[in-house]
Symmetry: C2
Subunit: 329 residues, 2 copies
């Protein structure tokens, strides 16, 4: 996506919290530790798949930017990542995904059964850890967030009807599925800040999260498969309706609309069929529309940060917006 | 199973808490309510499958027997049932079960995907409800219990090696899978009782829960299919190793042991093959052994109740032991 700024890497925005962030994986290990062999095995595979720690980064930056200095921040950052991983384990099982972060998923390496149980294991460990903090505040935020995420997953199951799935439904879907956890990470990092700062960070996370998901959905149309790691048009192949298509449909001519309908009715669409719809979506302005929405959300997120004092951590939260909007994968 | 007492029905032991118990389903409705169509649909199917409410009964009896009169007891009883239902939804999905309580399971009626997400939805609603009680005590017990149940499910996946699965592993399995939630129900019902009563009820629930699972596993060998609703030897057919087989194996002759090994290696064992192993297990005393263990656990549960004052609710908790040990399904 276009931007006037120099490219922002994850390392740039992690700089103000680098020292604490480096302690998160060890904290995660402690929380999920199990003496039962099979669970320990799955855990060790999950640790090899370790992701970009974007959510823990946001939580720690929110803590830093509000000067809260919450001594529980590293634990909370680990719990946020744990909830994220638990969700991915169930998602991969629900979607029958074979690869995640370039490695075999739990369902493909072990079994569907192990995935379902392991997701439950990880989530219940997260709740135990939150209970041990002896404070209901983080639990209040994160139990709501995890429930919203399940509603988002349910909405996702129904997002396969291009002629019926509206932008409003799409917004509800991405809010629940993606924005809620990013927003929760920011809010939990600001639990000890002033109510105004806490609200600003919650809203920042929400707008950032929605932009994040729109960019994700855009990359499915325009991304370089060598960088994203998945072929262009994967969502269309799985009959997933996302913003570019929703925005393009009303502006398409009859023959393009017919091509969309045919694709959606074809169990295994051919590459040419997918390429044709991708081109029609671009032609009808669907990609531009989605890009503009992502940029508007980015501006909204940026505006929320004005409520915080100027610090390197606030700069990093700004940089996180650029990172989300400009990313290529 | 043999007993000197007259048969005890569920209604008998529910009598002291009948009025409050009748309010639990409505409370459950309130907690799981969803404005999203698909979730509401699954909920309404789950309500049609409503079970025996054994765990809410135990919770309310524990409250009554300790004179705690906790005003949150009905909500807590609904949450216990909700956690139980969430677990069943995932279990049925993991086991690919088609029927539950004589009705189609969520995975068979909707899909495997809906089951995984719905289990997560229900469990996160339970956590939200507990957080709203503004007290960490019930959460402390129930987060530990739900985590133990996932470990139990993992152990279950490995309980298919008759020559290696020991009675010790079996005990750990049934403690985690079944006894933990019954014990948790009793303990949460006694959160406002004295520490001594609370401990007694936790231990009562634990012994009762282990007896409950052993009787379940016995019924698989000796139950009347017309009453239990499933054919004799279902566990053997699924290569599940339970206490009767574990106890019988060391006392079997070489040819019976060989029959067991052959059955375990046969993907779809024939009825005759199963009947032969059932007979060999009985012959070697496996059923008697399991029955005796269940009765010993029943006595242990009974002994714990001496810590409580004599009340109709305590009598009902005693009756619950007889109910568990004597049940035919």
């Amino acid at each position: 996506m276009s931007s006037q700024l120099a490219p922002v890497g994850l390392a740039d925005l992690q700089r103000p919290v680098r020292a604490r962030l480096e302690r998160v994986p060890q904290e995660l290990h402690r929380i999920v530790e199990a003496d039962f062999g099979l669970i320990a095995q799955v855990n060790s595979h999950l640790f090899q798949m370790q992701g970009k720690m974007f959510r823990p980064t946001l939580l720690l930056l929110a803590d830093e930017a509000t000067g809260a200095g919450d001594p529980r921040a590293i634990t909370l950052a680990a719990v946020i990542e744990l909830i994220h991983v638990a969700t991915l384990v169930h998602d991969d099982s629900v979607d029958h995904s074979v690869l995640r972060r370039g490695m075999p998923t739990i369902n493909s390496l072990f079994s569907h059964q192990v995935s379902v149980i392991m997701g439950d294991y990880l989530y219940s460990r997260a709740v135990i850890e939150l209970v041990q903090l002896d404070d209901l505040a983080p639990l209040r935020v994160l139990s709501r967030v995890t429930n919203e995420m399940t509603v988002g997953e349910m909405r996702q199951l129904l997002a396969h009807e291009p002629m019926e799935f509206t932008e409003e439904s799409y917004d509800l879907l991405i809010q629940a599925k993606t924005a809620s956890l990013l927003s929760g990470a920011c809010e939990v990092g600001a639990l000890r800040a002033s109510p105004g700062e806490r609200t600003a960070l919650r809203r920042y996370g929400e707008a950032l999260g929605m932009a994040f998901q729109i960019v994700d959905d855009l990359l499915d149309y325009v991304g370089d498969p060598n960088i994203t790691g998945k072929p262009t048009g994967s969502d269309l192949r799985e009959h997933k309706v996302t913003l570019p298509l929703i925005a393009a449909l009303p502006r398409m001519d009859a023959s393009s609309r017919a091509a969309v309908e045919t694709l959606m009715e074809t169990a295994e669409p051919a590459d040419g069929q997918i390429a044709e719809v991708v081109a029609a979506v671009a032609e009808a302005g669907g990609l531009d529309y989605a890009r503009e929405r992502a940029l508007r959300l980015a501006q909204q997120a940026d505006g929320e940060l004005d409520a915080l004092p100027p610090t390197p951590a606030r700069d990093a939260l700004r940089a996180a917006i650029t990172y989300v909007v400009d990313r290529r994968r």
